[in-house]
Symmetry: C2
Subunit: 282 residues, 2 copies
């Protein structure tokens, strides 16, 4: 029977660590502050933002949100980001995604000073990820690496299969697994032989958004399964991996909900603290 | 019997394309100019630089080299790069690697304006590679993609295996093969089961630096073999792939010498022209 990788527990530990770091910074009159830019009134975004706000409060990070109307001009958004870049009271900036279609997401993300890039989506920071030990890591990627680390899952020489190639999860995750000396395969919607690949993998990380794509007959014994999928079906939240049927065969598995999800907000707060520390070093 | 992927032929075509573009730019009084920064007197670097200079001359790109002594101070090097960034007569800058040990290679590369980054090693440009269709591509990666393209080698849904994870070849190449919808595996020195992986691969690109690492019993029929290795043994240049024994089994293969190697300098010149065009657009 697999070990269940308890994201809530690891998130709790990480939040404690963040809180301690914030306390230490406060003693030096440094107050980590995250500024979230929200465009429009997407209900899913509103939920995430509430979760972020609550955790920020708990770990004593200042959080402020700037809300723009759905039809905000791109230049106005970019000007605001530039002001925040130059504002010494702001440690970290994030733009809540997705953005309305009239806005150029890359241009907006590139306007953020890489030193204040809470999400780690700026190309400079993504390039640094591939070039070594960057401290700016997208929250979901940090969450996955924290889970693997907390449960002492060995990566060196293992075959890690990532399913999904987004710039938020799959691609930056590949860089981090390579850093840990895993052999890394990136599969995606055009991959033709997924079950051949899943059967060979020691570790599978799925970020596809297809409920129960990975079934027990597609995996080998003692595989480690990390599920980033969040699929709503008939009011239930299902992962990309069939948890119940894979549980007996795997050596470790994340539940959905309760796996990677709860860790991402704590990872974001950790990122805010790291950025603040870096801004105040030297 | 495999098709031999003729790097010299493709390089010739690419050089012609560059020459035409340069002519067109010259007509608009724009003169693409590459500035190479060389530190010390490494004999291998001297040879590469001569090859670059010769091709630059042939395609009518201005080339100038700034040579520093072995013990140059890092600040001096960075100041020079900043001057070149601001010099409108310079279209592209490259720092000849490797650098002496007292110099911080990342810091020096990061000093280059990404818009003038001939090698494409700046983290911003490497991040852009992973985020979409960047025009700044390291020369060896561009060479490999050009060869695959010239010989109409299909990539979508194919299993591509990259052996080697440098920031010059392996990692940025992975981004480009993913863009073409290949399923990409990155293997390296810590990979434990290399021959299991090579036997499953439809395309193998090796950049390891180990003579004849890949042998005929490690590959499947009709594989495409791309050899980036350059290993000198008893005065002979050998690739990572045993060309003679793999030739009958593969569907396509690059020779060493005469494969990827001759294309890299032409790819660098192509990059210089693209950077010049971008600087003069809009």
């Amino acid at each position: 029977m697999a070990t269940i990788l308890d994201g809530k527990k690891v998130a709790g530990k990480l939040a404690e660590k963040v809180k301690e770091k914030v306390k230490f910074l406060n003693e030096q009159k440094i107050f980590p502050t995250l500024c979230v830019i929200e465009v429009g009134n997407d209900p899913a975004s509103k939920i995430y933002l509430r979760v972020k706000r609550n955790l920020a409060k708990q770990v004593e990070i200042n959080e402020k949100t700037i809300n723009f109307d759905d039809d905000v001009k791109q230049d106005k958004l970019i000007d605001t980001i530039k002001e925040l870049n130059n504002d010494p009271t702001i440690s970290a900036i994030m733009v809540q995604l997705p953005l309305p279609a009239h806005l150029d997401q890359s241009k907006i993300i590139e306007a953020i000073d890489p030193a204040k890039d809470a999400d780690g989506f700026h190309p400079y920071n993504q390039g640094k990820l591939w070039q070594g030990n960057s401290q700016v890591i997208p929250a979901t990627v940090r969450s996955i690496m924290s889970l693997l680390n907390e449960y002492d899952i060995q990566l060196e020489g293992k075959n890690a299969l990532i399913i999904g190639r987004s710039i938020i999860v799959g691609k930056p995750l590949a860089s981090q697994l390579l850093n840990k000396n895993a052999t890394v395969t990136i599969a995606h919607s055009k991959t033709q032989n997924l079950s051949t690949l899943t059967k060979k993998a020691d570790i599978i990380i799925s970020d596809v958004g297809q409920a129960h794509l990975i079934k027990e007959d597609m995996i080998k014994n003692d595989v480690v399964l990390i599920d980033v999928g969040m699929n709503r079906e008939n009011g239930k939240l299902l992962g990309d991996i069939n948890f119940q049927t894979c549980l007996p065969k795997a050596s470790a598995i994340t539940p959905v909900p309760g796996g990677v999800g709860p860790l991402t907000v704590a990872s974001l707060m950790y990122q805010v603290v790291l950025l603040t520390e870096n801004q105040n070093n030297g």
